[in-house]
Symmetry: D2
Subunit: 393 residues, 4 copies
Amino acid sequence: MSERRLLMIPGPIIFEPSVLRSLSKGHLSHMSTEFTKLFAEVLGNLKRLLFVDDEFKTIVLAGSGTLAMEASTTNFIRKDDNVLVISNGVFGDRMAELLSRYPVKVDLLKVNSPGEVVDNGLIEERLKEKNYSLVAVTHVDTSTAVRHNIEELGHIVKDYNALLVVDGVCSVAGEEIRMKDWNIDVVLTGSQKAIGVPVGLALIWLSPRALDRLKETNARYAPYYMDFNKWIDVMDSYEQLKPIYFATPAVNLIVGLHESLKLIFEEGLENRFRRHRVLSEAFRKGVRSLGLNLLAKNDDIAASTVTAVYLPENIDLSDFRREMASRNVIVAGGLYPSIKTRYFRVGHMGPVNANDIASTMATIERSLVKLGYPINLGDGLSVVQRFLSEHGF
Amino acid sequence: MSERRLLMIPGPIIFEPSVLRSLSKGHLSHMSTEFTKLFAEVLGNLKRLLFVDDEFKTIVLAGSGTLAMEASTTNFIRKDDNVLVISNGVFGDRMAELLSRYPVKVDLLKVNSPGEVVDNGLIEERLKEKNYSLVAVTHVDTSTAVRHNIEELGHIVKDYNALLVVDGVCSVAGEEIRMKDWNIDVVLTGSQKAIGVPVGLALIWLSPRALDRLKETNARYAPYYMDFNKWIDVMDSYEQLKPIYFATPAVNLIVGLHESLKLIFEEGLENRFRRHRVLSEAFRKGVRSLGLNLLAKNDDIAASTVTAVYLPENIDLSDFRREMASRNVIVAGGLYPSIKTRYFRVGHMGPVNANDIASTMATIERSLVKLGYPINLGDGLSVVQRFLSEHGF
Amino acid sequence: MSERRLLMIPGPIIFEPSVLRSLSKGHLSHMSTEFTKLFAEVLGNLKRLLFVDDEFKTIVLAGSGTLAMEASTTNFIRKDDNVLVISNGVFGDRMAELLSRYPVKVDLLKVNSPGEVVDNGLIEERLKEKNYSLVAVTHVDTSTAVRHNIEELGHIVKDYNALLVVDGVCSVAGEEIRMKDWNIDVVLTGSQKAIGVPVGLALIWLSPRALDRLKETNARYAPYYMDFNKWIDVMDSYEQLKPIYFATPAVNLIVGLHESLKLIFEEGLENRFRRHRVLSEAFRKGVRSLGLNLLAKNDDIAASTVTAVYLPENIDLSDFRREMASRNVIVAGGLYPSIKTRYFRVGHMGPVNANDIASTMATIERSLVKLGYPINLGDGLSVVQRFLSEHGF
Amino acid sequence: MSERRLLMIPGPIIFEPSVLRSLSKGHLSHMSTEFTKLFAEVLGNLKRLLFVDDEFKTIVLAGSGTLAMEASTTNFIRKDDNVLVISNGVFGDRMAELLSRYPVKVDLLKVNSPGEVVDNGLIEERLKEKNYSLVAVTHVDTSTAVRHNIEELGHIVKDYNALLVVDGVCSVAGEEIRMKDWNIDVVLTGSQKAIGVPVGLALIWLSPRALDRLKETNARYAPYYMDFNKWIDVMDSYEQLKPIYFATPAVNLIVGLHESLKLIFEEGLENRFRRHRVLSEAFRKGVRSLGLNLLAKNDDIAASTVTAVYLPENIDLSDFRREMASRNVIVAGGLYPSIKTRYFRVGHMGPVNANDIASTMATIERSLVKLGYPINLGDGLSVVQRFLSEHGF
C-alpha cells in the first residue's frame, strides 16, 4: 500500500525524510566519540530551542511523553506538598491522576467546558490562598487544541514559591517558549510531536530554580528510572564529551533528533513559529467558513500545532475519518471523554507546509460532501488561499 | 533543507517511500538466488503491465530512456531500410536525429505546431507510398504533453511490413498500453517515469514479430552494449532462475523496480489508469478555469501523465518556477524549442494522488497572484474539487 | 568515516540492515489498521519467543531496560513485602538499589566475587527462612557475563509463594528461556540486546500467576507510566485489533521489532540458541588459548551472549580498546566496579555470525601483539577455527 | 534472511551503509540547485581521484561498465583506423569484440595463458610496426585478477600517435592511477567496483589529447546515447552550476557517488591505495600458504582489488561456493572460459577492511576442510595475521 498519505494527527506527525533515514545508522556505540559529540550537540540545541543558557539543564530519556510528565513532576515533590494542577483538557486531568499516586495533595483547577483554558487570574487567586510547591499546566492540550498563555502565567508564578512545570508535549518546537524570560522552571515534551522524531524520547528542560529544588527533594519520590540526579550527571558527562553510563540512551532516536534539530535551526525559530501560526490560522478560517465549529473558544487560545473541529450533527466520526483516510489524509478522532465522538483533530506541526493544509482542506471538503453535508466545494479552500496569500505563503 | 517538496515534473517523479528504502538493500550479488528470483518476478510483472504473454520478451538495461530509444530501434534495422519517424514533439525529433546516425533512410512526419499529434490517416498514406521497415512513434511526448492514439495506429500498421516501435517513456504504467491486442512490436520506457523508480533503467518489450526481425537483422547495427541477442539470453536465463552474465544488471534499481511493480499490481492496473485519467482531467480543467491555455489542442490527445500549460503573456517562466519552488512545488519549464520559455509542464504520474493535484493547483493560484495575474484565489481549486468529487475522489 | 565497524559490545549490538531500514517507515499512525496488525503480530511472536501461550501477556513500552526492571517489579509489590534480590553482578545490585526506593524489605543475596553466580541451593534456604513475595534474578549479568540457571531456580521457587522475576535483558532471544515450563512469572528485556532492535523498547512477559498478583496489588506502587493494568488493556486491545490509547507506542521501533522477530523465526529458535552457544564457546576457547582469563568461573555459567575477559596485567584497558577500535572492532570496558579497568567485554548476540567471531579474535590477537603481549599470531584463531569446524560452522 | 553476509565478489561490492542510505533521498530534480551543486562536486572529486586538473573532463552516464567501454572507444575512431587491443583476459577480449562491430581494423594482442599480462615491450613493437590511432588496455582484468603496468605503458604510448584508453573498471579508486603524469588519454570505470556505488553509472575521464581527437572524429561512430560532444556540454553545464538537459542523469546513484567520494577523500587516496595493497597481499599470502595457486603469475602483476585462486584438483567450484555462502561469504566463480570451473575469485576493494580479509580466510579454511582438503585450520590465518600485523593493520 502506498505510504504517500498525509498523517495529519497530533503525533506521530509527518517526519522529514532525512530524519527517518538517519534512524537507520548502524554500528554506533552509545559510548563512542561520534555519538558523544552528536549527543552533546543535541543537548546544546535543545537549550537554544527554548532560549535558555547553560545554567539550564536538558535531559533526554527513552520513553514517551507520559513518562516525561511523571519525571518532570515527581522529582520535585516532598511528602505532603501542595500541588496545583491546571487542566485545560485530558492531559491536565492525566497530570492530576498521575500525581495522585504520590504522597502529595493535588488540587485540580479545571476548565468548565472543553475548548476553554483556565483563567490565569483564577490561578493567581489559588496561589494566594495556599502555599503550593508546584504548579503544573499543559501548554497546548492535545485533546482540545487550546493553548494556555504560559508567558503570563510565568510572570504570575514567579512571585510565589511554586515551581512552574509546563507540559509542552504538543507545543515545543511548534509554539514559542522563552523558558528563561517567561520564568518557567520545567518544560517537558515527547519526540513525536513538533520536534519531529518518531516516538520514544522524553525531553525535559530544568531551570536553575528547578535544580535547587531537586537538591532539596533529592528526587526522593521519583521512580528510579526517572531520577534526575542520575540523569543530570549523565547529560553533563555527554556535554563534556566524557560519557558515563546509567541506562543506555536511545542512540538511533537521538541521531534522528540531531537531524531534526539541524533542520529546525536551518529554518530559524522565528520562521518556524510564524509558519505554524499562519498555517493554523489559515486552517481554522477555512474550517469555519464551511460552517464547522472549533472547540477552541476563540483564536487567542487556539493552538498553532493542532486544531479540534466539531463535526456537523448528522455526520458520524468513523465515517468521516474513513472517507478522509480513503483520500490519503489521516485525522484523529476526539479525545475529550464527554464529546469524543463529536469532533476530530488535525495536527499541523513539525514540517507541515501550506501544501499539506491545502490538501487537508480539499479532502475535508470532498469527504463532507460525500457524507451529505451541503457545502460548495472550494469555498473553504478559497478562504485558506486568500489568508495564505495575504501572509506571503 | 526540508525534502518535503512536491516534485511535479515529468520525471524523475515523486517515488514511493518504500521504493526509495528498497534501494538501500546491500550485500546482494547479481548472481545470487535471492536476486535471481526477484529479477524473474520483475520480468514477469513487466509483461503483465503491458498485457502480454510469454511469447513476448522483456529486457532491463542499465541506462536512461534515450538509451532505450536507441536500443529499441537499432536492433531492427538493415542497411538502407526506410524508417518512418512520427514526431509529436521533441522526443520524436530526437528519434529521427538518433536514427540518422545509422545507415537507414529516415522520413520524419511531424506535427505542424506543438500540441498537435500527427494524424494516423497521414501515417497510413505514407505507409502506402513506401515500404517502411519500421515506424517509430512517441506515445506521450514529454515536451508537449500530447498522447498519440497508438491503439488505432497499431491496427493500421499491422497490415504493413513495418515494425511499430512505441516510445512509452512518458506513458508506460500511467497510460493503458495493450501491446498484444494493439499490435505493437516494441515498447520502451525509462524507470524514472510512471513506473516509479529512480533514473537508471531502460526497459524494453518485444513482440514475437520483433523477435523474428531480430533474427533477420542479427542486431548488426546495434551498439554492442545494446545488442538484444545478448540481452535476451540474459533475461531468459534469469527467468529460468539460472542466471548468466553479460554486463552486470543494476541490482539495486531492479530491487526498487520490484517494489514499485508490487505496489502497482496491489493498486490494480484498471484503478491506476483511471486514477491518472481523472487526476489529469481535473488538473486540466482547473488550469483552464484560471484562463490559462494548454498546449494540447484538445482533451482527446491530452496526456494523463503530464500537462503543458502556457503562461500568461506577461509572466516570466523563471519567476513563476521560483515562486512555485518557494512554495515547495517543483514544476518543469518548457522543452519545445520555439516556445520553451512560454510554458511550464506538470508531471502527474506514478504515485501522484488527489492531494498532490490540489496542492499543485493551490500553489499555481497563489504563485500567479503573487506575480500579478488577476484571478480569484480558489476558483481553479473549486473546479478541481468538483471534478474530483464527481468522480469519487 | 566508514560505518563498517563491528560493534561487539553487549548492546546496542550489530543490527540487521533490514531492521535498520524498517525504522524509516513513515506516515504510520499508532491507531492505523496497518500498525495495529503489525503490533498484534509482534505481541504474538514475543510469546512464541519464550514458549508461552495466550494465558501469558506481553507488554511493549517505550523505555530502556532499566525501566523494564522497575516496571517488572514495582507492579507486584505490597507495602512491607519481603523481596529477595539475587545479585550476580552490577545489574543484580541495581535491582536491589531500585527496589530500595519502594516500601518493601529488600534482602540481597550476592556472589562472593565477580564471575560467580549465586548458588540456587542458597536461594532455596532463604526461601525457607522467610516468606518472600518476590524473587528477582538476572539471567545473564551483562557486567560479568555469567548466566544463572533459571530453569533450576524456577523449579525451586514454584513451591513457594514468591513470584520469580527474571531480568532477561542480556539473554532473551540469545539464551533459551522456556518461561512456562520453567515456572517463571515475569521476564523483562530491552530491545537493543539479542532481540535486535535499537534502544528504546522495554519488553515484559507476565505469567498467569503474575497476573493474579497484579489483581492483588492493583499496581499500587508502580509509577503511573509503568502501571501494568493500563498497559495490559492497551496490549489486549491491539491483539484484538481494536486499539485503544494510553501513551503513544513507539511506532517505528515496533516496526523494527516486527522485522527482527520475523528474521528470528526464519532462523528458528533452536538454530538461534545453538548458534549463540557454539559461537560463544568458540570465542571463549580462543581467548583462553591466548592465556587470557575469563571472569566466568566455569563454562557452565558462561553466557552465550557476552564474554568478559581479564586483560593481561600490564595492558591498559583504554589502550586496548583504542587499538581494537582502530581496527574496526568495538569492545566494551569492564563494568563491575572493583575491577572495571581490568577486563573487557565482548557482546556476541543477535545476528552475530562466525565471521564476526573470527574477525574479533583476529583483531584481539593483533591488538595484543601491538601492545607487547607475547603470543603467536593465529594461535587463538586456530582454536576458534577447529571448534567452529567441529560444530559444522 | 540475514543480510549480514560478506559480498566478496569483484562487483557489486560491499557498499558503505551511508552510501546505501543516501540512495533513498527523494524529491530531487535533476535540474535543481541542490542536485546541481552536488553533481558539480562529484565531477570535481572524480578529477582529484585520478590526479588530473581542469583541462581534463569527466563524464557520468547512466549505464554499466560495458557501456563505458563502448563509449570510451567509439567516440575516438575514424573509418579504417587501426586499433590495438591488449587483452589480459576476458575484458580485453570483450573490447576487441566490441570494436569489431565498428569500421576499424582491430589488432588483438593477447596473453598466452590466463594469469599473465601482455608485455609492454611487445606492445611497443607493435606500435612501431603500424600506425595505431588507439590502444586499449584493461588495467585490472576482473576475470584473471592481473594488473597491467599502465604507468610504463603510458610512457611508451605517448611517443606515438595513439590514444591510450585504460579500462579501469576493476581498478579506479582501488589502484593508483595518475592519469596525467602517466600520459593516459581515456579512463573508464563502472560505479559498482572500488568506487563504491551500486551498479548503474559509467564513469569516463578524458585528457586534453582525447578532447582534441574528439574534435577530429566528431563522435561520428559513437552511438547517439554515448556521444561525448553532447555529454561534455552537459557536464560542463553542471560544473558551471547552470544545468542543461540531454538525457536525465541518474540522480540517486549520483547522490550515492557523492557520498562515496566524500568517504574516499576522508580516508585519503594514499591510505586507500596502501590499504588495498596490504590487504590483497595478506590475502594472497594466506591463500598460498594453504597450498592453493593463484592465476596471477607473480605478485608484481597481482591486482590489489581482486584475487583469482585455483581450487584444489578434486574440489568442485559449485560445492565450494555453496559452502562459502552457507558461512555468509560470497565469492565468485571463474570467468576465463577455458578454466572457469577451476578457480574462484575474491573481490577485496572499496570499503573492505582487515576484518573482511580475516573472515574470508577463516571461511575458506573451514569450507576447504569440510570438502575434504587436508589443511591445518588456522594456518592460512596465521600467515594473514603476521603480514597484517607487520604492516600496522
